[in-house]
């Protein structure tokens, strides 16, 4: 059993839902993003999605686009990235999950990317623009390295296809709350809950919801049916707005805890 599944078991025993946070590596700086990840772990975040930047993130809204640009400007490349994760390995309890686009993976070489991920103690991988039809080889190789492959199911995915996707997911299924790009949004929660309920009826794997989540109220409602929630842009924006303040890491910790109360 992988790290991610283990963690979900632990959470289940405690009747808790997973709280997952997305952080672009190298934002606002390489050293600070390391500190942010350690501090989030201490604040009780269950999983941390670490973004490896791609110059043209076409599923992302302006907040993550900006963070990506900064992270690239800070010189993030695979060497820095994996060295950074390696350093966190012994310090951070929350399983790390890499989130990226396919081109940087392809350029480094799929096997090399997976091996480095494994060596850095990563639990799973999500590749935004690698749908299941193109993922045959990736799934096979990821299994060899015991890395969980997390795919996306969206409101636009037909039920039959969703079942197929869920069978290929390891760790958990990423349910995308809205058809759209990342960024804080108010969306119609009832239909998301109905959709998740239907999906849960035909799988044992955990289903977590992400995209658009930015307040406690959404979290409270969404965790009624889902096994966890993922917050990205809202936290990236909080970091962008506050990282220069003295007490920043404590403030961030309080902000993040505010979602979980």
């Amino acid at each position: 059993m992988g790290k991610i599944e283990n963690k979900f078991r632990e959470l289940k025993a405690k009747k808790k839902k997973a709280f997952i946070v997305y952080i672009p590596f190298g934002f606002p700086s390489i050293s600070l993003s390391g500190k942010i990840i350690t501090s989030l772990d201490k604040s009780g975040v269950d999983f941390i999605e670490v973004g490896f930047p791609f110059s043209d993130p076409l599923a992302d809204g302006t907040i993550i686009q900006k963070a990506t640009q900064i992270s690239l400007k800070n010189g993030v490349n695979p060497d820095y990235f994996f060295a950074g994760l390696e350093k966190l390995k012994s310090k951070v309890k929350a399983p790390l999950i890499i989130l990226t686009y396919y081109n940087p993976v392809y350029m480094l070489g799929l096997k090399k990317f997976l091996k480095k991920s494994k060596d850095a103690g990563v639990g799973g991988i999500m590749i935004v623009d690698l749908p299941i039809e193109e993922a045959g080889n990736y799934i096979k190789e990821a299994q060899k390295y015991e890395l969980d492959t997390i795919f996306f199911v969206t409101p636009a995915t037909e039920f039959e296809r969703a079942q197929k996707i869920m069978k290929l997911c390891r760790g958990f299924v990423y349910y995308v709350s809205v058809t759209g790009i990342t960024g804080p949004k108010d969306f119609f929660i009832k239909s998301v809950l109905e959709h998740i309920k239907r999906l849960k009826s035909c799988t044992d794997i955990a289903i977590c919801v992400g995209f658009g989540i930015h307040n406690r109220e959404q979290v409270r409602k969404l965790t009624k049916e889902s096994d966890g929630i993922i917050v990205g842009s809202a936290i990236v924006k909080y970091i962008d707005d506050h990282y220069q303040e003295k007490n920043f890491l404590n403030m961030l910790s309080t902000y993040v805890k505010g979602f979980q109360e």
Binding site: D56, L58, N103, D129, L130, P131, F152, V153, T154
Partner: protein
């Protein structure tokens, strides 16, 4: 073998690398397209509009004075004479019928030079669609007339301020819009790029160029040409010319990429200087750094200013079906002047790249028979050329 295959691959290139949200609508698009291709009524209607509205067939004009000057026999496929001034209308007419067939209400498009944007706004006006066009801020500046035209035609033009503020970023933004409004919106892509089935759809609609040219040259010369020459941005006018000659083994295809400031400086020569990667949904040659980040590009021709290229061209390169070369900004300006002065035809800066390359062919192969795709006219580029001429003159004075 028929290309692309079921998964949208031309050999190793193409495919469908997209966020899951777009999966359904791309499969829907593919299915509708295959139905559309069998729908005789729609095809007849498309034919009618290509002829009566856009002005097809376009002449295959023997450029006598240019031929004499160069010492080769040059025929120009006059796509510049089409309504809206470029080959782009072949594709937008085709896709607007497809969008209607699919029951979509709103059209979005990306544009670089603004030619595709204008051609999209045109058909949207004619067939009653709401139309939103994404255009890089830098391109809006250098192709002002086209921005104004789109607005007159009733389209909204959204400036894109991310990245290099050119075509690549306009594509990103159009895709983001599409992901968000996927139910009622049709994404009318302007070149043979993007996820499957776009490279196939756009190639099919642009193949009218090569089909006409092939029968025209046989009528006029009673033989096939030695060379086909076309500029390559995403590659739609080039593949439209090349594709119908695919089985003609002796015909040499030459795709001319934008060499920009030079091959060791900023350029758009994806097939010459790029490495295989994934951008905008397809695997193809790409200008990128060693870590897979997309590189900045530059070309004097906004329509060629793109770091990627259609997957079918990558395939042509791999199987050596076409040869790809680069022509710089400066050389393209030379091509621009050459055609204007000798033939009284002012070309767009994009095909001016191809025009310049005729000089190279003439040097190697005197007397050869060439068809060049004159993909568009130069009205949109007058400001740029004026600016450049000003600079050259200032230098002379200094």
């Amino acid at each position: 073998m028929r290309m692309p295959d079921k998964k949208g691959y031309f050999g190793d290139f193409g495919g469908r690398f997209i966020p899951e949200t777009l999966s359904f609508c791309l499969r829907e698009l593919e299915e509708s397209y295959f139905k559309f291709k069998k729908d005789k009524r729609s095809l007849r209607e498309l034919d009618f509009y290509l002829k009566e509205y856009a002005g097809r067939p376009t002449p295959l004009y023997f450029a006598g004075k240019l031929s004499e000057y160069l010492g080769i026999k040059v025929y120009l496929k006059r796509e510049d004479l089409l309504h809206t001034g470029a080959h782009k209308i072949n594709n937008t007419l085709g896709q607007i019928f497809l969008a209607r067939h699919m029951g979509k209400k709103r059209i979005i498009a990306e544009t670089g030079a603004g030619q595709h944007g204008v051609a999209t706004a045109t058909v949207a006006a004619r067939f009653g669609f709401k139309c939103d066009v994404y255009m890089g801020e830098e391109d809006m500046r250098r192709q002002k007339t086209n921005v104004f035209k789109m607005e007159i035609l009733g389209a909204n033009v959204f400036p894109v301020r991310s990245g290099s503020k050119t075509l690549k970023d306009a594509c990103n933004e159009a895709i983001r819009d599409w992901v968000t409004n996927v139910k009622d919106t049709y994404y009318l892509l302007g070149s043979v790029v993007g996820p499957h089935p776009y490279p196939l759809i756009v190639r099919d609609f642009q193949s009218v160029i090569g089909k006409e040219a092939r029968s025209q040259i046989i009528k006029k010369e009673n033989r096939l040409p030695d060379y086909l020459v076309a500029c390559v941005g995403g590659g739609s006018n080039a593949i439209g010319l090349f594709h119908p000659f695919f089985d003609d083994k002796k015909v040499k295809n030459i795709g001319v990429e934008a060499g920009g400031l030079g091959l060791s400086s900023l350029n758009c020569a994806s097939l010459i200087k790029g490495k295989v990667g994934i951008l905008h949904g397809a695997k193809s040659f790409l200008l990128q750094d060693e870590f897979g980040q997309i590189k900045a590009t530059h070309s004097i021709a906004a329509g060629l200013d793109y770091p990627g290229v259609g997957p079918e061209h990558s395939f042509y390169k791999r199987i050596k079906k076409a040869c790809y070369v680069a022509v710089s900004d400066k050389e393209a300006l030379h091509g621009f002047k050459m055609l204007s002065k000798l033939e009284g035809i002012i070309p767009a800066l994009e095909p001016s790249h191809a025009l310049y390359y005729l000089k190279k062919i003439a040097k190697k192969n005197k007397g050869s028979l060439v068809i060049l795709c004159l993909s568009g006219r130069g009205d949109k580029d007058l400001d740029i050329v004026r600016e450049k001429r000003g600079k050259i003159k200032d230098k002379d004075k200094g």
